[in-house]
C-alpha cells in the first residue's frame, strides 16, 4: 500500500512534520476535532474501507472505539453490520475528494450484472440450506448476500490503492482455493480441492443422518435435488457467462496495467525529448542529437524488446543509479550527486524503482531550479531505499495539473503497481524529497508477464574491492 504524504519539509525554519501536515490540509484537521464536517471515508487510516476511521474523524471518537463498537454490532445484528459496512464503503466518498464508489458503480452495467448473478447464486444456496436445516449459521449468512454484491461493485470500481487492500485481505482465501497461480502446483491444488469437497460431503451426510435420524426421512431430499438440477439447468449458462466475464475482466485489467506502463515509458522518453526539443529549438545541433538519442532508444525498445533507459540484463542497482546520474547530467546540465550503499541485481521491481527514481530526478532537474540534486540508494535486507532530494523551490502538490503525469503516474503509479511506496515531501520554497521504497525478495504481485522478466530478486552481490555490500541488520550497538 502506498500513498503520497504531503507535508512541509526540509524548511530552514521550524521543520516539524506533523503539525505542518495538519495545517496544510485544513479539512482533515477539522475532522480530527469532530465538529461535523461532511462524513468521509479516511483511506489513509484504513483496515478495510476506512469507514470506521471516517466515522471516528467525523464525530471525534477514537478509531479503536468505533471498531470495537462495529464488532459488537456485528454480533448483535447477526452479521447485518457487515453488510451495512460494505454499503457505507460504497456510498460514502473518500476523504481525498472525488465521487463515491457507488456513483461510479451505477454506470458499470457489467459489474451490476455480476453482482446480481453472485447474489442470486448465494440466495439459492441459502434457500436450499434453509430448507434442509434451521441453523443459526444461515441467519448469519443472509446479510452477506448484500455484502458480496457490494464487494463486487467495490472491487470493480474502487481506485487502485483500495483494490490493493482488498487483494491483500483476500490473499489467504486465494491461497486456500488455489486461485493464485504459482502458489501451489496444479496437482497439489487439485488434491486440496478434492479434500475439501470430500470433507464437506462427509460432513453434510453425517449431519443429515444425525438430524433426521432415519433414511426414510431423506426422501424429500430427492425433490430438493431435482429443484437444484432444474435451477442449474435454467441459470447455469448465465453463471457460466459471468464466470467467463470474470476472466475477461482480469485480462482487461492486465491490459490496462500494461497500457499504463507503456504510457509511463512514452512519457519518460518520447514526451520528455519532445519537450526538450521545443526548449532548444534555436540550437539545431542539440535538436539533432536529442532526436538521434530518442530514435535509438525507441528502436531498441520496439525491436529489441529492451525498455528505453532501463533493464540491461546484468545491470545492478548501483550501475542503474550511475546511469541516471549521467543521463540527467548530460541532458539537463544539473549536477547529480549519487551515493549508493550496497548493491544488488536488478529485477522487474527494482527496474521499476529505478525508472521512478529517474523520473523524480528529471522532475527535480527540470522544475526545482536547484544547483545540485542528491540521489541516495541503500540496499537493506528487506527493501531498497532510494531518496531523490533537492534544495530547490519545491511545489504545492495540490496545484499540479492532472495532465502532468510526472509524479502521479511515472513515480507513484510505478511504485504501487509493484508493491512499493512513494512519499513526496515538499512545500513551496522548501525543496523536494522523494522517498521510494521497494521490497526485495518478493515477486511482483500485480503484473504477470511484464517485459524482460527474469525471475525473482537475486541475492545481494558483492562488488570487487568493496565487500561491504551485504545488507545490514540491527546488530549495531547503541
Amino acid at each position: 500500500m502506498s500513498r503520497i504524504v504531503r507535508s512541509g519539509c526540509l524548511g530552514h525554519d521550524g521543520y516539524v512534520e506533523h503539525p505542518t501536515r495538519w495545517r496544510r490540509d485544513p479539512a482533515r484537521f477539522r475532522h480530527r476535532e469532530g465538529d461535523g464536517g461532511p462524513l468521509r471515508r479516511d483511506p489513509a487510516d484504513r483496515l478495510g474501507g476506512g469507514v470506521a476511521s471516517g466515522v471516528a474523524a467525523w464525530k471525534g471518537f477514537n478509531v479503536t472505539t468505533v471498531r470495537i463498537a462495529f464488532v459488537l454490532l456485528t454480533v448483535v445484528t447477526t452479521g447485518g453490520a457487515v453488510a451495512a459496512y460494505v454499503l457505507a464503503w460504497l456510498v460514502i466518498p473518500a476523504a481525498g475528494g472525488g465521487p463515491s464508489i457507488g456513483v461510479k458503480a451505477r454506470s458499470d452495467s457489467q459489474g451490476l450484472g455480476l453482482a446480481a448473478g453472485l447474489a442470486s447464486l448465494l440466495i439459492l444456496v441459502l434457500l436450499v440450506a434453509a430448507a434442509l436445516s434451521d441453523s443459526w449459521l444461515i441467519n448469519w449468512a443472509w446479510p452477506q448476500v448484500l455484502s458480496v454484491a457490494g464487494l463486487v461493485l467495490i472491487w470493480r470500481n474502487a481506485p487502485a490503492d483500495e483494490q490493493a487492500t482488498m487483494r491483500h485481505l483476500l490473499q489467504p482465501l486465494e491461497a486456500a482455493t488455489g486461485v493464485t497461480a504459482g502458489v501451489a502446483t496444479p496437482h497439489r491444488r487439485a488434491v486440496l480441492r478434492l479434500t475439501i469437497a470430500g470433507l464437506l460431503l462427509l460432513g453434510g451426510v453425517t449431519w443429515l443422518f444425525s438430524v433426521h435420524g432415519s433414511i426414510a426421512l431423506l426422501r424429500p431430499l430427492g425433490g430438493v435435488a431435482l429443484v437444484i438440477v432444474a435451477i442449474v439447468l435454467a441459470l447455469g449458462p448465465w453463471w457460466l457467462r459471468i464466470a467467463r466475464e470474470l476472466v475477461l475482466e482480469r485480462q482487461a485489467r492486465v491490459r490496462a496495467e500494461e497500457r499504463a506502463d507503456i504510457a509511463a515509458r512514452v512519457h519518460d522518453s518520447v514526451l520528455q525529448t519532445l519537450a526538450l526539443i521545443q526548449r532548444r529549438a534555436d540550437d539545431p545541433a542539440k535538436v539533432i542529437q536529442l532526436a538521434r538519442l530518442q530514435e535509438r532508444e525507441l528502436r531498441s525498445w520496439l525491436f529489441e524488446g529492451r525498455a528505453p533507459n532501463e533493464l540491461d540484463a546484468d545491470l545492478t542497482l548501483a550501475a542503474g543509479v550511475r546511469q541516471i546520474q549521467q543521463d540527467v547530467e548530460t541532458r539537463y546540465g544539473v549536477p547529480v550527486e549519487a551515493v549508493t550503499v550496497g548493491d544488488t541485481k536488478l529485477d522487474d521491481n527494482l527496474s521499476a524503482l529505478l525508472a521512478a527514481a529517474r523520473e523524480a530526478t528529471i522532475n527535480a532537474a527540470k522544475w526545482s531550479g536547484a544547483d545540485v540534486i542528491s540521489l541516495f540508494a541503500e540496499v537493506e535486507p528487506a527493501e531498497v531505499l532510494l531518496v531523490v532530494r533537492d534544495r530547490g523551490q519545491g511545489f504545492d502538490p495540490e496545484a499540479v495539473p492532472a495532465d502532468r503525469q510526472g509524479l502521479a503516474e511515472s513515480v507513484h503509479g510505478r511504485m504501487t503497481r509493484r508493491g512499493g511506496t512513494a512519499t513526496v515531501s515538499t512545500a513551496v520554497g522548501e525543496g523536494t524529497k522523494v522517498t521510494l521504497k521497494m521490497p526485495i525478495g518478493a515477486s511482483s504481485p500485480a503484473s504477470p508477464g511484464g517485459p524482460g522478466g527474469h525471475g525473482g530478486t537475486g541475492p545481494p552481490i558483492k562488488r570487487g574491492g568493496r565487500g561491504g555490500s551485504s545488507p545490514r541488520g540491527k546488530r549495531a550497538k547503541t
Binding site: L10, Y15, P335, E337, V339, T340, V341, G342, V372, S374, F376, E378, V387, R389, R391, K462, G465, R466, G467, G468, S469, S470, P471, R472, G473, K474, R475, A476, K477, T478
Partner: protein
Amino acid sequence: MSAPRVVLVDDHGLFRSGVRAELGREVDVVGEADDVQPAIALIAALLPDVVLLDVHLPGGGGQAVIQAVKAGHPQVRFLALSASDAPEDVIAVIRAGARGYVTKTISTAELADAVRRVAAGDAVFSHRLAGFVLDAFAATPSADDLKPSFDSELDQLTNREREVLRLIAQGYTYKEIARELFISVKTVESHVSSVLRKLQLSTRHQLTRWAAERRL
C-alpha cells in the same frame, strides 16, 4: 574565533589560486605547496591550524604528508580534498589521520565551513564518504570480518550514527540533520567524530585492505 590559518597543498596552481581567492575572506591562507616534500617543510615551519590537502600528489599520496607531519606536530589538522572520490584513496588519507574529506566540487561556503569545523576539532564527511562508511561498516560482515577482533565496539556503527551518515549521504548539512533528527548540531558533530574515530582505528577487513592497497 579568529579566522583559521590554512596551508594549501595541491599540485595544480590554478586550483590553489582559485581556492585562495574564494576562501580569502573566510580563512587566512598562510602558505601553498605543490608536492609532498615542500609541503612537509612548509607545514613544519608555519604550523597552521588546518592543512587543505590534495589526495593525489606527484611525489606520493597525501597520506605521506600527514604521516610525516603528525610524527612531529600532532596538533596540525588535515582536511583532504580530492576530485576522485575513489573509496580506497579516501579511506587511506582518513586512516592516515585526516579529520575529514570533501570533494573539489564543494561550494565555497561549505568549504569554509568545513575548514572551520576541522580547525575546531570536528570531523567533516562528504556525502560520498558517508556512503563508503555505511558500505564498509555493513552490519553483516563479510567472511573476512568474522575473525575475532581486539575491539568489536570499533567495528560497529550505532543506529544513530548510521542515521546521521545516511542523511549526510543524501546531501543534508549538519544543521538540517539536527532538525531532521531532533538533536542539536553539537550532537551531530559528536556522532560524526565518533564515526571518524572508528574509521581510523577499526580493524575491519575492508578498511584495512583499502588502506593497505593504497600504500603499496
